[in-house]
């Protein structure tokens, strides 16, 4: 693998970290807990999200250990149920949904559009507190008995049969939902109203576009999840019967309401990641993203289509054949805008002068794994095969390819890409590239066998399985331990780099976004003067011209 890095400008090599920046501005715990600076809030999120990811990851490890052998020997079946439920709940609601928007989005969106902060800084802080309250509630319900309904809270299981903390967890997700509604709302308002002069819609970086689309989903979808969970809680607390067939209620109604949110939620999770990839690909191919407008609109198209496909989670639930057919076709339609993105990234790379820094490696990982995840989704969107594959490990492999192979790769790509801006220091390149490689290998080792297990018919959500599946499960567990190392490394070396990393300078990648034109780490209000934007996104010629000016002056 080629490891040439972009040549640094000479003045950047000797640069120091500016004394005045958003990190150093004030000190003390309170200055953090009461901050309304979007960059500090993003930092708070980064820390807390990493914390919850670590917990979710530990639970994943326990699951895989249990599945090393065919018997349920490490834990009893009901403990296993709690472990995978908690793993799912934490990963989905406390990691995937907020990950890129709440950290990178929070940090970057105002800067990328030339604003001093998000439109509603206090609401932004409130979002973080809601997130933390939800997190604490989830941990509390985990310690005091856990939940075993899976992350989908399926009724009537959740309302009538289980004897676990459904109410606390349900309310926790309700609270987390509001956190995400407020984040989305804040982004939409900011993008509409806070753009600097000259920053037209079609000059917006694609990262902003994709977060905008995800925000629409958050704002329209999450309230429906919220009310659904309220009904589940009321059902458990008071037996109100809306989802209870014995009272004339309807569990299918729950499915409709739940998936009306949770299918779009998949795109809440993936769209911001796609935004990261657009930025990274363009920067390291040093070309404008091919078909900028198509990529921008495909985000919005995904957001719109996402609301019309929820029923594909219900193919086996006795909904009518007619609606199943319609939803099956609609589901395949969503693949079109996703494919547009993949094609356009590939065209962007084509004949680009590509370099292979860590963010780019993770982005390649994203493209490969997300494509596999997406293609296997087509099997699931076709009713015929879905009936065979649903509730098997094929599903587990499918959504891990999309979510972990896709989203998490994008998250890591973005964290590395903007780390120098965020902290003022570089991550160590060689070991980071190694970590990216380990992650990719570990990932495939872990989840590829699960496709095979699924087609062979191993059902999901069981602690024990027939002995014939063991070989593949051993592979998968071995892969998971490699993957675990792959995730642990960045946590370690990124923390290390806070103190010992090479000084980054303002624009280590020679990228064009507004965020690269200010100091690293930025000032508290980002810009001393609001910029006037006079060029399109990814305009490398503009950048070259500017660099010449600077060096001829210097």
């Amino acid at each position: 693998m080629s490891t040439d890095t972009i040549v640094r400008l000479p003045d950047q090599a000797t640069a120091r970290i500016p004394k005045v920046n958003f990190l150093s501005k004030e000190n003390g715990l309170l200055s953090w807990l009461l901050t309304s600076d979007h960059k500090r809030i993003a930092t708070l999120y980064l820390i807390s999200i990493t914390f919850f990811f670590a917990i979710g990851g530990t639970l994943a490890g326990l699951i895989r250990l249990e599945l090393l052998t065919p018997q349920s020997d490490l834990m009893a079946a009901d403990t296993y149920n709690k472990v995978f439920s908690m793993h799912g709940i934490i990963m989905v609601f406390l990691f995937l949904v907020p990950s890129v928007p709440a950290t990178l989005g929070n940090f970057l969106i105002p800067i990328m559009i030339g604003a001093k902060d998000l439109a509603l800084p206090k609401v932004n802080l409130l979002s973080w507190y809601l997130y933390m309250i939800a997190g604490v509630m989830v941990l509390y319900s985990m310690i005091t008995g856990g939940v075993d309904t899976g992350w989908t809270f399926t009724v009537p299981l959740s309302t009538h049969y289980v004897n676990t903390n459904v109410i606390t967890t349900g309310l926790a997700i309700f609270v987390a939902g509001f956190s995400s509604v407020f984040t989305g709302l804040n982004f939409i308002v900011t993008i509409h109203k806070m753009r600097a002069p000259g920053m037209t819609w079609f000059r917006l970086p694609l990262f902003v576009w994709s977060n905008y689309a995800a925000s629409i989903l958050m704002v329209l979808g999450t309230p429906v999840l919220a009310i659904t969970l309220v009904l589940v809680v009321l059902e458990r607390g008071f037996g109100i019967g809306v989802f209870d067939p014995s009272k004339g209620g309807d569990p299918i109604l729950f499915q409709h309401l739940f998936w009306f949110y949770s299918h779009p939620a998949v795109y809440i999770m993936i769209l911001p990641g796609m935004g990261v990839i657009s930025e990274v690909v363009s920067t390291f191919a040093r070309k404008r993203v091919f078909g900028y407008t198509a990529v921008a609109f495909s985000s919005v198209a995904i957001a719109v289509f996402a609301f019309f496909v929820w029923e594909h989670h219900m193919f086996i639930m006795g909904v009518s054949n007619y609606s199943t057919l319609v939803f099956s076709l609609l589901t395949m339609l969503v693949a079109v805008p996703s494919a547009i993105k993949i094609f356009n990234w590939s065209f962007t790379l084509y004949k680009g002068s590509i370099t292979f820094e860590t963010p780019m490696l993770y982005s390649f990982g994203f493209m490969g794994l997300f494509t596999i995840g997406g293609l296997t989704g087509v099997f699931l969107a076709s009713t015929g095969t879905d009936i065979h594959l649903t509730e098997t490990y094929f599903i587990v492999a499918h959504f891990h390819f999309v979510m972990v192979g896709g989203m998490l790769m994008a998250f890591l790509s973005g964290i590395h890409f903007w780390w120098p801006k965020w902290t003022g220091r570089m991550y160590p390149e060689k070991i980071s590239q190694l970590a990216a490689l380990i992650t990719f290998i570990g990932f495939n080792f872990t989840f590829f066998p699960q496709f095979l297990l699924g087609t062979l018919g191993m059902p999901r959500r069981y602690a024990a399985y027939p002995a014939e599946f063991q070989v593949l499960n051993v592979f998968s567990t071995a892969g998971a331990s490699i993957l675990g190392i792959g995730y642990l490394l960045p946590i370690l070396y990124l923390t290390w780099s806070l103190k010992y990393g090479e000084i980054a300078g303002d624009n280590p990648w020679q990228a064009t976004g507004l965020e690269w034109q200010i100091q690293s780490p930025p000032l508290t209000e980002n810009f001393t003067e609001i910029p006037v934007v006079d060029h399109d996104a990814y305009d490398y010629e503009w950048l070259e011209k500017k660099e010449k000016e600077v060096s001829s002056v210097g």
């Binding site: 704002v219 309230p223 009310i227 309807d250 609001i530």
Partner: protein
């Protein structure tokens, strides 16, 4: 780090701002625009939130039509209508309040807000009366729900007098009245919760208005709160006919 894209915009310094302009907005106009846009968007999320309930209600109403009709006979139209009146009046006093704030009439603003506050409390008081009626008649789902009034309408002399055509429902259909009341409590309960939040905010507004906070020409907060209050009223304007009125006489 200054470069060709960064030019001075206008010549304002931080101290030319009015005191209520937040630091990150370039102008007061931008601030007002932004916050009211945010408020509208928030109300949109509220519509989605209640939308789930409305959908469920309409579906079940279709399925269990007779049960829903007879169950709706149990609601007290008098209290319902009175409450609708109370809410509409409170919307009016709130609108007057916004106007007073714009006109910078401090004591009139405080008066309007207090009136709105009181009307809000009256609404909740009446809701309390209605809820306790349901409790007494064993129409609160879950706890000690009784089908009596529906399997044997004659046992409920008062309602029977008003709706002499009510036929006894079979037990199977009568059971679905419980669903009606579930939705009744969920929907009006969610609405009442919004009222409680609104009334608490009003308390804060009254306190601040007395200090003269909203009669400086900067009325965004009163304005946005007004939007919220009207929105909560509008939800009721939908709830009232859906729960109390439609198909009452079929």
């Amino acid at each position: 780090m200054s470069d060709s894209t960064v030019t001075v915009q206008g010549a304002h310094t931080a101290h030319e701002h009015p005191p209520y302009q937040r630091h990150h907005f370039a102008s007061m106009e931008q601030q007002v625009d932004t916050t009211s846009f945010a408020m509208w968007l928030f109300l949109l999320t509220e519509i989605m939130f209640f939308g789930g309930l409305f959908c469920s209600y309409l579906i079940f109403r279709n399925w269990y039509y007779p049960a829903f009709v007879e169950a709706s006979h149990q609601l007290n139209i008098f209290w319902g209508t009175l409450n609708t009146g109370v809410l509409i009046t409170s919307s009016f006093t709130m609108a007057m309040g916004v106007w007073c704030a714009e006109m910078r009439k401090k004591s009139a603003l405080v008066l309007c807000l207090v009136l709105t506050f009181v009307l809000g409390l009256v609404f909740l008081g009446i809701k309390y009366i209605e809820y306790s009626e349901k409790w007494e008649k064993h129409h609160v789902p879950g706890f000690h729900y009784s089908l009596q009034s529906f399997t044997n309408p004659a046992s409920d002399a008062e309602v029977h007098k008003e709706y002499p055509d009510d036929k006894p429902l079979g037990v199977d259909m009568a059971r679905h009245t419980e669903l009606y009341f579930s939705l009744y409590f969920a929907m009006t309960g969610m609405h009442a919760l919004h009222m409680i939040i609104g009334i608490s905010l009003l308390g804060y507004l009254i306190f601040r208005a007395q200090q003269g906070a909203y009669t400086t020409g900067h009325v965004t907060f009163v304005h946005n709160f007004g939007l919220y209050w009207h929105f909560v009223d509008i939800i009721w304007i939908f709830l009232f006919p859906l729960l109390y009125l439609i198909s009452r006489h079929s």
